[in-house]
Symmetry: C2
Subunit: 461 residues, 2 copies
């Protein structure tokens, strides 16, 4: 077969890059589990009728067909009717309904899986990508404090990823808003019924269009008055890292019961998250955030990565009053979804992130000749018994060649067994070589696992 | 939406069951990394022409099509031409060719991913399932000792899974053979050319057909003599846990250079693996194993799970002289693939395997009233700072109800903050309640994480 070429939109990582992804996933999973979130994995496929309920995403669905079925034209309805999931929310809602009798509510889960969308690939947008979701779902009711909880958990998780002593990702800004606040404000302005959603949809375009243009659209398409348009735009300019936004909204002179509820919820959330914020993990009430046409009913989240604002939101979510319903029981939920590939693949492709070695091995055990390979294996076994990853040289080449074998992989130590049965270990970075016993030798902690390297404007941490 | 029903062949696990799967994956990954295997993940899709190179698996391939492309009939060639991978070997071979310039050889990797096959679901056979593969691939050459290495690594990994102090899976038997041994034996018998593959294919049916029937087929379809058929069947009856099989093969009075090579390799492999064997992790030379029509050229592996022999092999692989080739360079490989879902989903569905709680939480922090929720959050934060997973009660219900909330999830401890600011923690299994400080309290190690429970004939370990 000729040399294969990559498939656009289906990114793959080299081993050192994949190591970074594994570390990011482990950090997320550890944080989510500390907060009592259980992991689940759902199947990759869902019935097409479920995937197509959200109208405008239908174009993105990959439909599956068994090759044999395609050939003989006898595809069963079931085979015709499945496609790859395009997010983790649709499958989770289905999982909750299917297993409601076996789950305890409120049910909190995290899910880190690949999803697929057939859209046009571009930077940060892939056809196959990994998402990391947390959600809490209740039966009939779900107290608001769970909105605060998911925000705090994701803020903590992202904060760990951005911490220079951990992965060292760029800093980020978690932007929060509340649909009740926006909708109550528009209602208080006198915008009625369907007009509210239309105003919200148009104001949401502020990240792509200038305010003037949005104002024109508000007048032309939403049929609101100039004063209503100006106030709606004024609301969307309000940002604050504390609850000072409440007074600024009040100052716009609009009142409505739903607005009060939204202001109260958003202020509670911002106050509860503020103590977790750091320079690299910030939270901000941003009253322009609406999350487009998604079916959120209260809290909404978006997240911007410092220096990578063009990627759009890397972590989004919110509150659904009806995440799922079987007609008799309704399951409200609140959740947030991190676009792991959007974040990581972009950083990796720009060369900003990798690991200092391509293998887990701390040590390469050199082989003097093929007859003594068993001795080298024994040394490796002794090191592994103490959780030190190692590999034995593939051939009894000259030691210089064996050292280069280690060097090319970033393995820091080469182990030499002497003819008398004693051993020496060489740190090939410094050249230091010392006597060592495989039953007791211990590398420095930082050498035990590959280290993540972040490259920022030519500097590595 | 009405209550959804499961899709046959697409198994999903409940949280406690998924926890077991996560532990199994962590055990495998840890073992593979100790031996220097780096992790990679390949995309879920491959070009159809690559997936269809192995003739008879073509029926099982799921073809992908973008819904929009399907609707407007304008599918691009690229969209038409991709399908879901049905194993991890085809994608790995492609990955090696695509990235050959960026990889160091011999390249050792592990890969734990879902694969898809559109075949008829039955026990242990799914349409979506997870495989865990290790492979070592060389450029141009790959010494035989790597065959020994992958056998030892998988034996060690499976041995950990079967250990009662670890996951406690049933014991297993790793069966090894060598294609050179079989082919050399048949050649030494005077079977020629194409006949050798045909004899091998028919003898491989011994696990499904009685020996008499296979003998008939050998005479009728492979056109061998009665003596050749009898000797081929006699070879296939030889099994040994040590290298005593060598003499038994010699006693059949057949000689051939390739047979000698195969006997030598297999004896070396069995001797090197024997020291790792335990009661629950056994290795055996089984000269009936051939691995059907796959393109193995030397060592072959299969694995039977004790008490679940009807599942067939749960872990198979072998040596390929040409895992991949780009026409100029050939990449020989040796690897072994564990059918994780075949193993785990079967045990879980039969009720033989679960975990003792459905959430990671060690502690439920009780809430006295909604006004003091922040105090409960603070206690939870202090516990999490010391890596103790916990969750805060969702409502300030009566304490009895909060305790039942913990009980239903299997959370072992409930934490109560008193009005004076001190705390007590109750082990709800024993009823013991003691004074405790969130900055210092430590649960027993075995309570820190959920425990895997194996149920064998009504007994739990």
């Amino acid at each position: 077969m000729a040399k294969p070429t990559p498939l656009s939109g289906f990114p793959e990582l080299l081993p050192a890059q994949r190591y970074v992804e594994q570390q990011v996933i482990a950090t997320l999973a550890h944080t989510f589990e500390l907060h009592g979130f259980a992991n689940i994995e759902t199947r990759a496929v869902e019935p097409l009728d479920q995937l197509l309920r959200k109208g405008d995403t239908s174009k993105e669905v990959y439909v599956l067909r068994r090759l044999q079925a395609a050939e003989d034209g006898s595809a069963s309805d079931r085979d015709k009717g499945i496609g790859l999931h395009f997010d983790l929310t649709v499958p989770f809602a289905r999982f909750v309904l299917e297993n409601a009798g076996k789950l305890e509510f409120p049910f909190r889960r995290y899910q880190i899986q690949k999803v697929w969308r057939g859209e046009r690939p571009q930077e940060g947008r892939f056809r196959e990508f990994t998402q990391a979701d947390i959600d809490i779902v209740g039966r009939d009711t779900l107290p608001f404090h769970h909105d605060v909880e998911v925000a705090r958990v994701m803020l903590e998780a992202l904060g760990k990823l951005a911490h220079p002593d951990s992965i060292g990702l760029p800093g980020f800004r978690l932007q929060v808003n509340n649909r009740k606040l926006i909708q109550g404000f528009y209602a208080g302005l006198g915008v009625s019924g369907d007009g509210i959603d239309e105003v919200m949809r148009l104001v949401d375009k502020l990240d792509k269009l200038p305010a003037d243009k949005v104002r024109e659209l508000l007048l032309a398409e939403a049929g609101v008055s100039e004063e209503q348009a100006d106030k709606a735009l004024a609301l969307a300019t309000i940002k604050a890292v504390d609850d000072s936004f409440v007074q600024r909204v009040r100052d716009l002179g609009v009142s409505h019961e739903l607005l009060d509820e939204g202001l109260d919820e958003l202020a509670t959330l911002v106050r509860a998250c503020a103590p977790l914020a750091t320079d690299r993990a910030r939270i901000e009430a941003d009253l322009s955030i609406a999350r487009g046409l998604d079916y959120y009913t209260g809290t909404v989240f978006e997240t911007r990565l410092d220096g990578y604002e063009s990627l759009g939101s890397i972590c989004s979510g919110g509150r659904y009053d009806a995440l799922a319903s079987d007609g008799r029981t309704t399951y409200p939920g609140v959740g947030i979804s991190l676009g792991l590939s959007r974040l990581l693949v972009t950083l990796v492709q720009r060369g900003a992130l990798t690991a200092d070695r391509s293998v887990p091995s701390v040590v390469l055990v050199a082989v003097t000749d093929e007859e003594s390979r068993a001795d080298a294996d024994e040394i490796a076994t002794a090191l592994r018994a103490r959780a030190i990853s190692c590999e034995v040289a593939p051939t009894a080449a000259k030691f210089g060649k064996q050292i280069r074998h280690a060097e090319r992989r970033g393995i820091p130590y080469v182990w030499f067994r002497q003819a008398d049965g004693t051993s020496e270990v060489k740190d090939i970075r410094s050249g230091n070589q010392v006597a060592a016993d495989p039953a007791t030798w211990q590398p420095p902690t930082e050498d035990l696992r590959p280290q993540v390297i972040t490259i920022d404007e030519g500097e590595s941490k």
